[in-house]
């Protein structure tokens, strides 16, 4: 059944009112060359069974992670998500609310977001977190813009060891902001012009570092330290960015509660210090009491947001990744503090075992000495080719550095390898055997 709310007479009246004679007049601003002059070339409609067959055939071309031993990380990590998470997020109580503007009917959703914020603040070691953002990369871009607002400075120092997707998101989002962004490594001295320094921990090659000294250097000149954490599980084992003096922490939260989802939707975590809360982008849930003194939840500090402040808003993000945040919160609640620590240690041990095993192979050098669940290998052959050869042996062997840094010919033989709790001893053995064959 087609739904046609308006008849010819309605349309005619509306067009007369705004002074046009046909609907096409509305598109006068679109150049002729950009217009489609014939219908889209689509096949005729098909029956359900036929569609199912076609889609299944297409899906069969995919190589899902998990169909074979997989060691791909590079910003998205395969972790086990308990079945209870999927069950709980589908409860009907959670299915309706998108952005809960009306707190009196959205208490459940708001409470979840409030708990989520508390969890994010705790694991990042910060005072306050927002109700989530799109993903780690866009959260990083928001962090840079926020640092510029807080410091009223325009110079940004970004580590070259930041994931290139994060770097590019920052560059894209800031291109109209008149920021002066340097992408460098090792990091230069910061000065009184510097708005912020952006580093990733562990960095894109898996290397961990103590950020204490860097944070002190930043604070001495009034610059902010922005720390990006693409593998949120690492926070269960690694000293939190907050403890090391970070001013803004952004994470990719996908690793907890969320699958790889073909690269999205993901979950941006964003946390900062109390004193910067009004410059923080995004939604924020607060706990309060109602007229009878009973506990209740609201969206708070909304006046700085887009739907009220329009173009003067703190940020143009006016939403959050509600469902992914819910999954994150449920999984993290099930894990608890000890569970997260245990999961993180299991990841580290698995990666350590893998590094140990691979380092025995001739033509393999493990470049990182301090890592969490990801590290970089230097191989005796071109890493992109090695990954292809490994795939022929049903092993997903990691991310060639050349894929992230095509301009760095010195990294052509670098392979970034991740291991999580989903990798078994048999996986590790299979990887080591295959790599040995491929390199010999």
């Amino acid at each position: 059944m087609r739904y046609l709310p308006l008849g010819e007479a309605d349309r005619g009246a509306m067009m007369a009112r705004i002074g046009i004679t046909s609907v096409d007049d509305l598109f006068d601003g679109v150049p002729q060359s950009a217009r489609l002059t014939k219908p889209l070339d689509l096949p005729p409609g098909q029956g359900e069974l036929s569609v199912e067959r076609t889609i299944s055939r297409l899906a069969g071309k995919n190589r899902p992670m998990g169909s074979c031993p997989s060691f791909i990380g590079g910003g998205a990590y395969r972790h086990h998500v308990p079945a209870s998470v999927d069950h709980l997020i589908q409860r009907s109580e959670f299915l309706t609310a998108y952005t809960p503007y009306q707190p009196e009917i959205s208490q459940g959703t708001l409470q979840v977001l409030f708990e989520f914020q508390t969890q994010v603040a705790l694991i990042t070691g910060m005072d306050v977190a927002n109700a989530s953002m799109y993903d780690g990369a866009t959260a990083c871009a928001e962090a840079v813009m926020m640092a510029s607002r807080v410091t009223r400075r325009k110079h940004v120092v970004m580590s070259a060891n930041l994931h290139p997707h994060y770097r590019d998101s920052v560059l894209t989002a800031s291109q109209f902001l008149d920021l002066n962004i340097d992408v460098v490594e090792p990091l230069p001295e910061v000065d009184k012009e510097t708005a912020c320094v952006v580093v990733q921990n562990p960095d894109v090659f898996g290397r961990l570092r103590d950020l204490k000294v860097l944070s002190e250097a930043c604070h001495e000149v009034g610059a902010l330290l922005v720390v990006a954490v693409p593998e949120v599980v690492s926070l269960g084992a690694v000293k939190s960015p907050g403890e090391m003096g970070a001013d803004i922490v952004v994470c990719e939260g996908q690793g907890i509660g969320n699958g790889l989802n073909y690269g999205g939707p993901y979950l941006g975590l964003f946390a900062t210090r109390d004193k910067y809360v009004r410059q923080m982008p995004g939604r924020l849930c607060g706990e309060t009491v109602d007229a009878d003194g009973k506990r209740g939840y609201v969206l708070t500090l909304s006046a700085r947001e887009q739907h009220i402040r329009r173009e003067k808003a703190t940020s143009n993000i006016c939403t959050n990744s509600g469902l992914c945040a819910l999954a994150f919160s449920i999984h993290l609640s099930l894990l608890g503090e000890d569970g997260l620590k245990g999961l993180a240690m299991l990841n580290h041990q698995t990666a350590f075992k893998l590094a140990d095993k691979l380092s025995e192979i001739e033509g393999v050098e493990v470049l990182e000495k301090t890592f969490f669940n990801e590290f970089t290998l230097k191989l005796s052959r071109d890493a992109t080719q090695v990954v292809e050869d490994l795939l022929d042996k049903d092993i997903m062997g990691g991310v060639p550095a050349a894929r992230l840094f095509p301009e760095r010919s010195d990294m052509a033989d670098h392979l970034i390898v991740a291991a999580t709790e989903t990798n078994t001893d048999e996986d590790i053995q299979a990887f080591a055997s295959a790599l040995q064959e491929v390199l010999s």
Partner: protein, 123 residues
């Protein structure tokens, strides 16, 4: 009624020598409702008449505050950082926002006196 001058953006201005103290009018704070935050300018900033220099946020809205006169910001009311509600309680005195060292006293001529402003606000 005080000897304050007023702008069409609902700011009051009190000039002593070449220093102007600026806040929002009592009428403006009544319209805004409970003020929860004031984003003050930086001391030392050079501002031109009409520049956006501060933001006042209430439970209802966030509004820009424009410099009513040109000059240099020489002081801000730090009290508002801790107790922004001072703007509601004492808008035209203790709730001042910032002080400007005037660059052009001639700009004063564009401001209204209390009586003219009262008529303007009733508008």
């Amino acid at each position: 009624m005080s000897d304050h001058k007023y702008s069409e953006d609902h700011e009051w201005i009190n000039v002593e020598g070449d220093i102007a103290t600026v806040g929002i009018s009592n009428f403006a704070q009544e319209q805004l409702g409970d003020v929860v935050f004031v984003d003050l300018p930086q001391v030392g900033a050079e501002v031109s008449k009409g520049d956006e220099v501060a933001v006042v946020e209430s439970v209802k809205a966030a509004s820009e505050i424009y410099a009513p006169l040109s000059g240099e910001i020489i002081a801000i009311n730090e009290v508002l950082n801790e107790t922004p509600e001072t703007v509601n309680a004492d808008a035209e005195n203790g709730g001042w926002f910032f002080k400007i060292k005037l660059a052009d006293e001639g700009e004063m001529d564009d401001l209204m006196d209390a009586e003219a402003y009262a008529a303007f606000a009733q508008g």
